[in-house]
């Protein structure tokens, strides 16, 4: 074992979900991004290969197209064709450590840094050219890879780069190219990585093939937390068995054999009978009984102090409404189960993983494999989309443990579908209670909101003691499980978007942190608390509008001052042609949902049109219209792809998804018991981007999710007259609602 894992190199000042820590260097981070902490230009960009530009980033490709966005930014500032830019996959050996790739912060952190590093590189190239050509720098232009003087003489970037590294540390921002001169930014391009992926070329961790490679699977007990009662055999089904405490895996010469040996071994192992898993953990009553702390939320920040007295809801003199909204546990549900490759050799460990935080993973692995941090190298390779903290890090740990037990040959370990559905950290269940009073004019006077939430972050940040990597808890002696910690920062965890954007004369918001101390595990899933909060707030606002006798769109606008918020709402409603679908009595229902993600990022408004089949109780989505303002648009096609992908995933949550639990753990362990939206269920989507050149570019991976869930609930109400406050609106629940109408 090593001492407390503490790496060499700067630890980025990021929160656990990859956001900037609000602190004294925040203004600098806004203009320099991750250059704060990693100021050397040479670390980010080099022109060492003739005709190519290499960009290094600590952020990783998750399917969000970050490599393409960074290539566009680098190309723009340097003045080269984007096709000449190579974005090097992140590695703990070479890339700047930028913490987690999460929360749509990649452009804000890495993008800003790459942009500034390249602007400085261009400036430094021009300085070199000035010396070489004997022309003052301000009379030179740099474009298309060439620095040119006013009358002819020119020199290529690569000739200039051959003079050696820049050795320049950025402390101040360089002037960026003005938006009016942009040639690539704002235009979009083909994704750099998609051609290989779509055509089936090896592109993912599980496609990595190395000489002498072996293949591994993990064997798990039926009930979560069970331990082995007797040692397993040394071999099973033609595979070697690896056993460390109660961590059991098989390793074989082919993936087929590993899979069949794992099934064979599983049938022979004896396990202890641990306490039953809390099958009712998503129940709001259960959650209320397991609140461990309550925090008042003010200005988006949860404060570790007693909540102030609750205001009387009737203070405004108008109607008072109350409602409770719930969201179940959800799965990330990657289409490709988690996988990793590891090689232990000569006292060193190399890991290839699709983790979102390779630097953190490296430090978390060290104590579990008994190696010093500097003996471990972690390379990022792409995986299937993860949408947050899924099994990626745990699979990397599993692979590392197997590799250390069988050194000298690389091990490719892959979770089964059963592993992934059954053991990934789930998206947290939430219950939100709202109470509001109107004033005599029908405006909101008081607003009380209680958010009960499991925790949204158990990423494997190295902990003072214990570990968050799954296999660690099975070792002998077991490394204690380090539980997730409640997130209190600005708009973090369960109070993300827990503060309405609407003007509220009196508001009282309390976050109740739920932890039942059991084997239940939750972590970051796309948007964290935002989708549930936006679903609750946007549903309740419509209930209040109705109580006030107001139009739901006008009611929102009457409570909104921010012109950018108003603009997306107006744009989405206008795209739809209003919230009344044509068709008279049989018309489909339309509903609106709006949020500014995290109260500070992308604005999105969604209008959904749907119908309910009274026979099957299935909700059919017909249309969705979306307007979004993500600041300056770097890559319009990529942004639209992210926003529409978020809309489809959120529609899937809203209509279908719910983890089923039993006394062993997760009972819904395949795509039949945990269905997701299919092609035939996807609506026609129209998206409009409201571009704001010159304002900071904002990530949009999560922005459309909450508004979509809310829009569906509101459209369902408009269509059926039934307000559904518990997700999902699956046929079972819709049936109950429709029957209640009779």
């Amino acid at each position: 074992m090593t001492g407390p894992a503490r790496p060499g190199g700067a630890v980025p000042a990021l929160t656990e979900d990859g956001r900037l820590v609000a602190g004294e260097d925040e203004p600098r981070r806004r203009v320099l991004g991750s250059l704060v902490g990693h100021p050397e230009v040479d670390r980010w960009v080099d022109l060492a290969v003739e005709g190519r530009v290499r960009v290094r980033t600590g952020k990783v490709e998750l399917g969000q197209g970050i490599r393409t966005a960074l290539a566009l930014l680098a190309a723009e500032e340097l003045g080269v064709d984007p096709a000449l830019v190579d974005v090097v996959p992140a590695s703990t050996d070479a890339a700047p450590d930028e913490g987690f790739t999460a929360g749509s912060r990649s452009v804000e952190q890495s993008g800003v840094a790459v942009r500034q590093a390249c602007a400085h590189a261009r400036r430094l190239l021009v300085e070199r050219a000035a010396a070489r050509l004997g022309v003052p720098a301000d009379r030179l232009t740099a474009d298309d890879g060439v620095v040119r003087g006013p009358d002819g003489p020119s020199v290529s970037y690569w000739e200039l780069a051959a003079e050696g590294p820049f050795h320049f540390r950025v402390t101040e921002p360089a002037p960026l190219r003005p938006a009016a001169e942009h040639r690539y930014v704002g235009r979009g391009m083909r994704r750099l990585d998609l051609a290989a992926k779509i055509s089936g070329a090896p592109a993912y961790v599980a496609d990595l093939r190395l000489p002498g490679m072996r293949f591994a699977r993990v064997v798990r007990p039926r009930r979560r937390g069970a331990r082995l009662t007797s040692a397993p055999p040394a071999t099973a089904g033609g595979a070697d068995v690896v056993c460390k405490g109660s961590f059991v895996a098989v390793v074989a010469d082919s993936e087929a054999r590993a899979a069949s040996a794992a099934a064979e071994l599983a049938a022979t192992l004896d396990w202890t009978d641990p306490p039953p898993f809390p099958a009712g953990a998503a129940d709001p009553g259960y959650m209320a009984r397991h609140v461990v702390a309550s925090y008042p939320v003010a200005d988006g920040i949860a404060r570790d102090e007693p909540p102030p007295p609750r205001p009387a809801p009737s203070a405004g003199g108008g109607a008072v409404l109350r409602a409770r909204f719930t969201k179940p546990f959800l799965l990330h549900g990657s289409i490709g189960p988690s996988a990793a490759v590891a090689l232990a050799d000569d006292g060193r460990l190399t890991v290839w993983t699709h983790s979102q935080g390779i630097g953190f993973l490296r430090r978390a692995l060290a104590p579990l494999v008994g190696l010093a941090v500097d003996r471990i190298t972690v390379h990022h390779l792409d995986g299937a989309g993860c949408y947050g903290h899924n099994g990626a890090d745990d699979a990397a740990c599993d692979a590392a443990l197997v590799a250390v037990a069988h050194p000298g040959r690389p091990v490719s370990l892959r979770w089964s579908r059963d592993d992934e559905h059954g053991h990934e950290p789930m998206g947290a269940a939430m219950a939100i209670e709202l109470e509001a009073g109107l004033d005599a004019r029908g405006r909101i006077a008081t607003w009380c909101q209680e958010i009960r939430t499991y925790r949204h972050n158990s990423r494997p940040i190295p902990q003072p003691s214990g570990t968050r990597l799954l296999a660690g808890w099975s070792l002998d002696p077991a490394v204690e499980r380090s539980r997730a910690t409640p997130m209190l920062d600005f708009e973090a965890g369960g109070h993300r978007n827990g503060t309405p954007a609407y003007r509220l004369p009196t508001s009282w918001i309390v976050k109740h942190d739920v932890d039942d101390g059991t084997a239940l595990r939750t972590s970051a899933l796309r948007g964290l608390g935002a989708p549930a909060n936006v679903f609750a707030i946007e549903s309740f606002v419509e209930e209040l509008a109705e109580a006030a006798g107001a139009d739901p769109v006008q009611f929102r606008l009457d409570h909104l001052d921010d012109p950018r918020a108003r603009a997306v709402i107006e744009a989405a409603v206008e795209m739809a042609g209003g919230l009344e679908a044509p068709g008279g009595l049989d018309a489909p229902g339309r509903g609106l949902g709006f949020a500014q993600y995290e109260g500070s990022m992308t604005y999105a408004a969604v209008v959904v049109e749907l119908e309910v089949d009274p026979r099957t109780a299935v909700v059919h989505l017909r249309h969705a219209w979306m307007a979004a303002d993500a600041g300056e648009v770097i890559d319009p096609d990529g942004l639209t792809n992210q926003l529409e992908g978020g809309l489809v995933q959120a529609a899937s949550w809203a209509l279908l998804e719910q983890v089923r639990l039993d006394e062993d753990g997760v009972a819904s362990r395949d795509w039949e018991s945990y269905p997701i939206l299919r092609f035939g269920q996807v609506p026609e989507i129209e998206t409009q981007l409201l571009d704001h050149p010159g304002t900071p570019p904002l990530g949009a991976g999560e922005a459309s999710c909450g508004p979509t869930v809310a829009a569906i609930a509101n459209a369902f109400y408009q269509h059926t007259g039934v307000r559904v406050r518990d997700l999902p609106l699956d046929p079972a629940r819709v049936r109950v609602s429709l029957d209640a109408l009779l």
Binding site: L62, G63, Q64, G65, R190, R191, D193, L194, A195, K197, I198, S199, G200, A201, A203, Y204, A206, D207, R209, F215, S254, E255, A256, A259, S260, G333, S334, I335, G336, P337, D382, G383, A384, G385, Y387, R414, S416, R417, R622, G638, N641, Q642, E644, G645, G646, L647, V648, Q649, S652, D670, W671, E672, I676, L677, R678, F679, G680, V682, E684, I685
Partner: protein
């Protein structure tokens, strides 16, 4: 030994007869385009053509395809219709993580080969594929283009 014909070539693979075709392709033949997604015939990531018909390969025993022609995306992408499908998806940036797409490209190629096909039928075939990234709108747009071009008769917009 099981005798397999894959992408027009005969192979003898030394695996138990019940081994799923997916693993024989990936482990024995190094053909990595077909992906493992569920192993349960529920997601379509592992799709291949067997005697010209699209099928999931993750539970199909190799012994069942002896004597039949297996075609993977590695071969399809070299043929004109498969190449057209892949290029259309790439040109539309019709994916995010991309993991579901090799399987979808096989199904789209199969549909293009059989076109004209009714849009309802095309949708049913696509419904055998899961995509978690929500790339559906773009994939559907590409599918409509491809099938319209293939039949000369644009399929109706979905309801």
């Amino acid at each position: 030994m099981v005798e397999l014909s894959v992408n027009g070539r005969a192979h003898s693979v030394d695996v138990p007869e019940r081994t799923p075709l997916l693993w024989a392709l990936r482990d024995e033949l190094g053909l990595l385009a077909a992906k493992y997604g569920c192993g349960l015939e529920q997601c379509g990531a592992c799709s291949v053509l067997v005697d010209g018909v699209v099928q999931p390969s993750c539970r199909l025993p190799v012994s069942d395809v002896a004597g039949l022609e297996v075609t993977t995306l590695e071969a399809l992408r070299e043929q004109p219709d498969g190449r057209r499908v892949v290029e259309a998806l790439v040109a539309a940036n019709a994916g995010q993580c991309g993991y579901c797409l090799p399987g979808i490209a096989v199904t789209l190629t199969w549909l293009v080969r059989r076109s004209p096909v009714a849009w309802e039928e095309a949708l049913r075939a696509l419904d055998d594929h899961l995509c978690r990234c929500g790339s559906h709108p773009r994939i559907l747009r590409v599918a409509r283009q491809l099938l319209a071009a293939g039949s000369g008769d644009p399929p109706a917009e979905p309801a």
